[in-house]
């Protein structure tokens, strides 16, 4: 690696193998950039405007985390209360309990749910029988099309005392387990069903990425005598690495945002111990009771964590894998 620019600048402005333009002209002025790339910038106008209007304008309403909001009063709250609401949730033992639950549940989902579609896509890629492949693919998407309400209703049926799973348990002579009332089982049920629901759909991205891998690379590998595993390791995985990294970073950033609707429908007071998460707690305490300020304060905290996580993941990824979101 020839070092021709000062290290600091190199770190900031250069991803590995970035095209030559960036290296040649690290400091163009806005004027010349605009003159040169005005067509590219013109493409950005509408989307940026959209972000500004539909995302950033409403964000101003977050100020009610620090101002007391009265339902029906000003959108921006009635009076400054400083960090009162922040203090409130820091002092709230229930908040920390649900925070811990969220971390565990989100972490488990990431750990199990993230690799699943990759493995699935790789397995699918092995198939040469076009028709079977297409059938498997189509079938695996179906859960994604089903509304959460239906999915949860099905889970409830499966794990009920007389459900299919307990029938299987019974075959081994064990007593039926009341899965849905047992806090020890909540996470397993949630994560398993999550994988079931998202695996096929999540694989689409990887399958699309797999198609961009040049066949000649496999050819070369085969000539080199690489077996299937080696080909997967040295050609396939590197080929889909950018997609994997992008998705991983995003998943890390949003792993606190566990599926609200599903948790809400799956949980019951008996499983609050493991099953109650930030969003469901917010729903009960904040929205059902119209405590919008309190809910916003917690929401901001959650956002902040998400942002920090995604920024760190991105930084780590850039340094380690040389690939990043920006």
């Amino acid at each position: 690696m020839a070092v021709s620019t000062p290290p600091a600048k190199r770190l900031r402005s250069r991803a590995p193998l970035a095209d030559a333009a960036a290296v040649r002209a690290p400091r163009t002025t806005w004027r010349s950039a605009l003159r040169k790339d005005w067509r590219l910038y013109s493409l950005l106008v509408l989307p940026l405007l959209w972000f500004l209007v539909f995302k950033y304008l409403p964000m101003a309403g977050n100020v009610i985390a620090f101002r007391r909001f009265t339902p029906g009063g000003s959108v921006f709250g009635e009076e400054w209360v400083g960090l009162d609401y922040v203090q409130m949730f820091i002092d709230d033992p229930t908040f920390w309990a649900v925070f811990r639950n969220t971390l565990v549940l989100g972490g488990l989902t990431l750990l199990v749910g993230f690799p699943a579609p990759i493995i699935f896509a790789l397995l699918l890629n092995e198939l040469k029988a076009r028709r079977f492949k297409r059938f498997v693919q189509t079938a695996s998407y179906l859960p994604h099309f089903m509304s959460i309400v239906i999915v949860v209703a099905m889970i409830m049926q499966l794990v009920s005392l007389r459900g299919t799973i307990n029938q299987v348990v019974g075959l081994f002579g064990a007593d039926p387990v009341n899965f849905i009332q047992n806090p020890d089982w909540f996470r397993t049920i949630y994560v398993t069903s999550d994988v079931w629901q998202t695996m096929g759909w999540g694989a689409i991205l990887y399958l699309a990425a797999l198609t961009t891998i040049d066949d000649s690379l496999y050819e070369a590998a085969r000539i080199d005598g690489a077996n299937r595993w080696q080909q997967t390791w040295h050609v396939t995985l590197p080929g889909i690495a950018p997609t994997v990294v992008t998705l991983l970073i995003l998943n890390i950033g949003s792993f606190l945002a566990v599926g609200f609707e599903k948790v809400l429908l799956l949980q019951n007071p008996l499983t609050y111990e493991t099953g109650d998460v930030i969003s469901t707690y917010l729903y009960r305490v904040g929205l059902q009771s119209n405590s919008f300020s309190y809910a916003t304060a917690i929401g901001l905290f959650e956002s902040l964590i998400g942002l920090v996580l995604v920024l760190s993941a991105n930084a780590v990824s850039r340094r380690v894998a040389g690939s990043s979101l920006w």
Binding site: T70, P71, E78, D92, M156, S160, Y294
Partner: protein
Amino acid sequence: MNRTSTSPSARTLTRRTTLAGLVALTGGALAACGGGGDDGADVSDKTTGAMKDFDAGTAFKATAPLTYTSLFSDQPTYPFKEDWLFWTALQENTDVGLDFTIVPASDYEQKRSLVVSAGDSPIIIPKTYPGQETPFVASGVVLPVSDYTDLMPHFRDQVEKWDLQSEVDTLRQKDGKYYVLPGLHEALWPDYTLIVRTDVFEKAGVPLPTSWAEVESALAAIKQANPDSIPFSDRYEGKSVLNYGAVAFGTVGGWGYGEGLQFDEDNDEFVFAAATDEYRSMVEYFAGLVSKGLMDPESFTQTDDAAQAKFTSGRSFVISGNSQDPSVYRAQMDQSIGAGNYAISKIIVPSGPAGDLIGGSRLENGIMISAKAAERDDFQALMQFIDWLFYSDEGREFAKWGVEGTTYTKDASGKRSLMPDINYTGLNPAGTKDLRIDYGFSQGNFSYGGSTELLHSMMSEEELAFQEAMTAKTPVEPLPAHPYSQVEQEQITLLAKPLQDFVDQSTLQFITGQRSLADWDAYVGELEQRGSTRYLELVNKAYAEAKA
């Protein structure tokens, strides 16, 4: 408050109503206890379309055509139709048209909260239960309706005639006004109770139980006769049975949990219901049922569908239900078990250690009115219209039965019957049209409350017998008023909700046997750790202030 940048009208509105509140507090504190209108903003010139001599017994008809906006909670069982006879007949009779914002019933509360919180609600906001208006009081977006009851002769008349003043007074907020017009019932209206397989009871040789102790021994006898069964498997996540069960044990629970408070007459203060001996004995009772295999532990978590399936397929013999459920269950059981092979019936709500009590309130869900209404020229007509439609006998009869000669007939003795081709929850099984689905009458937005005569006029013989038997019970006293200020309200909410979560969780743990009742004292300690003491302090402070 003055640093904000909302629309100027919203701000002046807030200021004006605060001012009105101050006036009421200082000058009109005594008047607030009377039945008449309190001092409100001057609306004497808002007379467009209003009747000059509108009084109790007058049929309302606007003197000019009017239109008001309204929310509408749209039920999947009888979806909203624009051409319902309800609307056309209403327009014809009153010259008032309604312009609806349709909201799916599944998410009605969220949308209502949103439009009201955004300060952008329609004029009429129906299906609001007492207590649900509280969050919106402070900002002044909701009309303090108590200021304008002088425009509502039927309402005043009914409050007086049915002796409802003390109940209505419980709606008063810190400023002494109330912000929701409740649905008014002449008498308590019990609905939910246990529905049992009477044939199975007979076969086991046990009479229908009248107390919870008898329920237990009956279940035990049935269990003995059907050793493989769990005789009682409930629906509504147990919230219904805990509701009417708690009444008999002298406490609150399930749907009736409310603020989680009991009133201790002796010490003249509120106590935390879920920490009382009464609550404990209720929990002990149901835990006993579960541990003896008489009650299905899934009762508290299974879906209604699942619970219903167990009952209607003959796997369980006792379940909770309301007046409409027997006909629903029967329809399913005719198919699954076969007509003639079973018999079911609602039983009288069992009595308990606290006596033979009946819970509930004579106030039902009602309407909020947007504060913007008071600025309209047709404000007086609006109040008269609402007064007629929701509180006059004539308006109620219209909303429930429809148009005489078209949807129903009335014989000389005043007995109403549906037209032969019109059905309503099994009253006219041969009818091809449905009073709600095809005509829009008897639907939840506009038809509730009223005289016992009107309520009973649409009930089956079976249900009437149940209602008759329930009148022997003693009503539970309503809790004394204890309104909160805005800041108190916020603290109360943030304390009460996690406490309720914990109570729910622990109640179910005790009942299903996941936690031993020997842990009760530890549980009470945990309640205190979670702020039950602080919560009671706030409640009792508000109560003391309300008394003063």
